[in-house]
């Protein structure tokens, strides 16, 4: 029970991941995102070793299809995994194992992979892809958010007893191997995708201030002053 998108911005080469799920703290299980290398996200019955291993293989120079084959040979329970891989050039592959819980599936598009399991149906994946493609001029983090919102609005996750809420969600976008750019999380909430929008929009207001004060502290205003300006008090 999860729906995700991994994608590359064709204008900037930035790589990003968006994910929402019923499970708690999903952002803490998203290690497989590395600038200039690629993305791998394993979900359903996840294998925590897969994503770091895939990043190492991508870094060694293997393409996504070969990386996926190597993950398969390394894991006796590969049939229970759902895996999306994207390389730095935006080439994607996906695997939805026969042991993942229905409805599960994926769509590999140009520069992105949309995938999920325990979903209302294939319309969720289609909606994720449409959400991502809706505004191709927007920053990658906002395109990822629109994709998640598309998946949620198309019915999201549905288990044996009906609709499952999104309790955690995360967006991570990288341009530099040393630190993330947009990196926002909601770990436990009744409407995690809606809350993720709130956090991301607030983060976007602070993003430049936080970056610049680190680059040149000697000219930085205080956060109190910055917040006052944001709130129109000065």
């Amino acid at each position: 029970m999860t729906f995700s998108i991994i994608a590359r911005c064709p204008d900037t080469g930035r790589l990003g991941l968006g994910i929402a799920t019923f499970s708690i703290g999903v952002g803490g299980r998203c290690e497989g995102v590395l600038a200039g290398v690629g993305i791998c996200k394993t979900q359903a019955f996840t294998n925590r070793g897969n994503d770091p291993l895939a990043i190492e293989l991508l870094r060694q120079g293997f393409g996504p299809a070969e990386v996926l084959r190597q993950l398969a040979t390394n894991d006796p329970d590969h049939a229970y995994r759902q895996i999306g891989i994207l390389d730095r050039d935006g080439n994607g592959v996906a695997h939805t194992g026969s042991g993942t819980r229905p409805w599960s599936g994926h769509k590999v598009g140009e520069g992105y992979v949309a995938f999920g399991n325990v979903l209302a149906g294939p319309q969720v994946i289609e909606a994720i892809a449409r959400g991502f493609m809706a505004d191709q001029q927007a920053p990658l983090e906002l395109r990822l958010l629109a994709a998640l919102e598309g998946g949620r609005d198309a019915g999201g996750q549905v288990g044996a007893h009906g609709r499952l809420p999104e309790r955690s969600a995360a967006i991570r976008v990288v341009a530099d191997p040393d630190y993330p750019e947009a990196d926002v999380r909601v770990d436990l909430h009744d409407e995690a995708v809606a809350e993720l929008r709130r956090v991301l929009e607030e983060f976007k207001r602070y993003e430049t201030f936080y970056r610049e004060r680190g680059l040149d502290p000697s000219t930085a205003i205080t956060q109190d002053e910055f917040v006052a300006r944001l709130e129109g008090r000065t």
Binding site: S23, L188, F203
Partner: protein
């Protein structure tokens, strides 16, 4: 304005970070921890490259003190940084630059660094260290969370007549895997430390279930069925 505990478990060698601050999404500054390598955070006016540089130096074999020297030598704005480093042996060092704001300082001991800036006073850093040391036999994540709560209860950020709220907080612990054992965040909340405790308490109920279903998918029950057993146990 931030307060932080870096800790190493002497019993297991696990490494972790607990942090709380007025800034939002502080968890994005907490990737400076790596299994069997070390743990570091640069804060105040954070130099975003410091953490990964420090981890690479630690992986090359430099001690915590040597890493701190190199970070400072590499940074023309070092006086604005506050940096803590613990290496895999538990040697801990810290630096609180004169350009950091408010009350700024650190308490360093074997296996821990308690440090912060924009704080009510030195009692906050001392309370964080005391909170960390209170239960040395407990799990590292528990000790880190108790340390942060102790910092909050000692006054946290701001001045004695004006408390500045914790709007984000995070907790990360690594053992011997290339991924975190515990990685929880609160990115934007009116009382982020309380919220982190709530998330942690809930997460702990699921932790074993999440791990076991990954390792043995064939025998795993669905999460809805697992939650029914949780509810039955709590009833």
């Amino acid at each position: 304005m931030t307060y932080t505990i870096l800790g190493r478990c002497a019993r297991t060698g696990r490494l972790g970070i607990g942090i709380a601050t007025f800034s939002i999404t502080v968890g994005r500054y907490c990737y400076g921890v790596k299994a069997m390598t070390g743990v570091t955070v640069s804060q105040a006016f954070a130099h975003e490259r410091n953490n990964q540089l420090a981890l690479r130096l630690l992986a090359q074999g430099f001690s915590a003190g040597a890493v701190l020297q190199r970070l400072m030598g590499n940074d023309r704005h070092a006086s604005y940084r506050q940096i803590g480093v613990i290496d895999r042996d538990g040697t801990a060092v810290a630096y609180s630059g004169p350009g950091t704001r408010g009350w700024s300082g650190h308490v360093v001991g074997e296996n821990h660094v308690a440090f912060g800036n924009g704080l009510v006073g030195p009692e906050v850093a001392e309370a964080i260290a005391a909170g960390f040391l209170a239960e040395p036999a407990a799990d590292l994540e528990h000790r880190l969370l108790c340390a942060i709560e102790a910092g909050r209860d000692a006054g946290g950020q701001g001045t004695r007549d004006r408390h500045k709220p914790e709007r984000s907080a995070a907790l990360r612990v690594y053992s011997h895997h290339p991924y975190a054992d515990i990685d929880l965040r609160v990115d934007l909340h009116a009382t982020a430390v309380e919220e982190l405790r709530r998330v942690w308490t809930e997460y702990k109920k699921y932790e074993t279930y999440y791990r076991d279903r990954e390792r043995n998918p064939k025998g795993a029950i669905g999460q809805e069925a697992f939650m029914a057993t949780l509810r039955a146990a709590e009833a």
